[in-house]
Symmetry: C2
Subunit: 365 residues, 2 copies
């Protein structure tokens, strides 16, 4: 569903239509010039051959430092999406299941389906600020559960759980002997900085250069885990994608040297936009105030008859604004995800149009 | 096994050891400067965002033209290895099988294993010049066979079947209702040029920018198939790697504009090296003369007691030359693969050392 809209928007744009894309899970900033320089110099220098499926040693070391582990605990993947797919493919046999807190990132569910497995949902409530529900977690885990996916800060809600809640989830799963996959794609965009997650036992961490670093289209991410798990993902890389282009990894290494600076800039911008959204949406649409990143996940007003899909279609047709219906994130058909991108004026105007359309739809019923 | 050696060599090199790498399935030329320019300009211009999981339309169109099909029949993947993995993952359910003519590229077998499926082998003989064996093919195909993999020219033998034999394989499989995956990674390096394979019913074609174009480390390849199959691979891309970096696709498009020129150069160089190999190996080691690409696949002399693994280890330890033992390619433990790379003098010297070591080992038994 999320991907149908993405591909539809690419097509509309090819036809020359101007679409305000609040649907794409992508920041609107790009890699720093010095990062681009590092990559292009490496390409010109011939760093464009097959290389280690584990990733470049220097990059692995640099990433490891931020997570209190060693290079052998890190593997570079073409985006952390691929790393997550590899982990699930290696962890789940047909009939096994994974558990994810919902609303969740669409891809988890698609991956599990492809692997012939079930993704069990622990549905969280807007009314409870999408905090973890431990009773529901306990009920969801069974003897065939291999992985619990924790995505805090979350896509699509941008809620970050308290560190105590995160710890409780990890401890709970460790006790049950179930691996926790911490998808930390948005962690470096916490409005109140948290630093990177230290690698702990029973936890696999997914990180990416896509979001804070603005390098979505480079396809560079990493997975952090125990050495044996890393070896398996390296073998999976070797069998499928071989390696992430070395010259791109050299760019990523440069980005990491500027980590503090890049993240501060990205965080400030994200926070500002969350403020713009709050000013326009608060009191008009029910949603949880974001703690990080660039999404908000409002609920449609009760008076609106249609669901998020109908609303998304109306919005793209009538206002040229693309959003993602909530059903893409689990049992949230009355919600929709907005990605806060663009200059202040465009973003404000798009948000106002969304509120206007929602209010008009509500009045019509 | 092939990958153990690759990772071992990377480690030895990191330790400062000089290894002559006749093990890597990689040409020693790189992308043309204008290809690199196109990619770096695109990166600087911001062509580094998420994009269509199908690949850039212009590149799909350009590739389609060479195969007498349409853009909708083409999907861009991070190397054709990934495309092949996607096709197998989408085609095979646990318990299904694929059939490959052996010796074959290691990755096919690893992929099938990962997918919980069997790769059935149709073993071909050096004595018959590795020509297809139709009786063995008929015997191998059963009711659970979903794909037959045809790799002509072949890795590791570099033998190209006659066009009549290729057609017979395709016709035979079409009759049986089994898909043919034509892995054409080396087709544009045929010493007697064949042109690209037209897309036909019941055939999926894998192509790559890695070999003739010298772009191994860029990870750009493509799959050509019927529209429905392409849609499935696009969805698989979206769920795993998202898309191949757009700026790299723009580089690949530039490479395609220079296709005739680049291929002619690569072909001439490959042919020259096959000549060097013939001069040194002929009469010393039994092997099939290559028709394409840059591999030869000699058999160990009968007098040598150890297998290809022992020979490969001795060679890297005693002479700093890396090769791949034949067992990596199926039931060919008495064979080994050489990748003919490097300047004429180094290549000659490496080949002479290999012959010398083989002769010495034979005398010792």
């Amino acid at each position: 569903m999320i991907y149908d809209i993405i591909e539809k928007v690419y097509k509309l744009e090819k036809q020359g239509k101007r679409i305000i894309k609040l649907n794409v899970g992508e920041p609107d900033w790009l890699a720093e010039p010095s990062v681009i320089d590092a990559a292009t110099q490496a390409l010109r220098a011939g760093k464009a051959r097959y290389s280690s499926a584990a990733g470049e040693q220097e990059l692995r070391e640099a990433i490891a430092k931020y997570h209190s582990c060693e290079a052998k605990n890190v593997v570079i993947t073409p985006g952390c999406k691929f790393g997550i797919y590899a982990l699930l493919a290696l962890s789940l046999k047909p009939g096994d299941n994974a558990v994810a807190f919902a609303p969740y990132w669409t891809a988890y569910n698609l991956m599990c389906k492809q692997l012939g497995c079930q993704l069990k949902r622990v549905n969280l409530d807007l009314q409870k600020n999408f905090a973890p529900d431990f009773d529901a977690l306990e009920a969801a885990i069974d003897s065939r559960t291999r992985v619990v996916i924790m995505n805090s800060p979350n896509n699509p809600t941008s809620k970050a759980w308290s560190e105590a809640d995160e710890k409780r989830v990890i401890d709970f799963c460790r006790e049950k002997g179930v691996l926790v996959l911490a998808d930390d794609a948005y962690r470096d965009l916490c409005f109140t900085p948290r630093g990177d997650r230290p690698l702990g036992e029973g936890v696999v961490i997914a990180t990416t250069f896509s979001k804070a670093f603005g390098m979505t289209g480079w396809r560079v991410g990493s997975m952090l885990a125990g050495e044996e798990t890393i070896k398996k993902i390296v073998a999976f890389n070797q069998m499928t994608v071989t390696n992430v282009p070395v010259f791109l990894q050299i760019g990523a290494l440069k980005a990491l040297e500027m980590k503090a600076e890049i993240e501060a800039k990205a965080r400030a911008l994200s926070k500002k936009r969350a403020g713009i959204a709050a000013r326009i949406l608060r009191g008009k649409l029910a949603y949880a105030e974001p703690d990080a990143g660039f999404y908000v996940f409002p609920e449609l007003p009760a008076g609106i008859k249609g669901d998020g899909v109908a609303f998304a279609n109306a919005l793209v047709d009538e206002a040229g604004i693309a959003i993602v219906p909530g059903a893409a994130f689990g049992d949230y058909s009355r919600f929709f995800r907005l990605s806060l991108a663009g200059d202040d004026a465009s973003l404000e105007s798009a948000l106002r149009k969304i509120v206007e359309l929602a209010e008009r739809a509500e009045r019509a019923h």
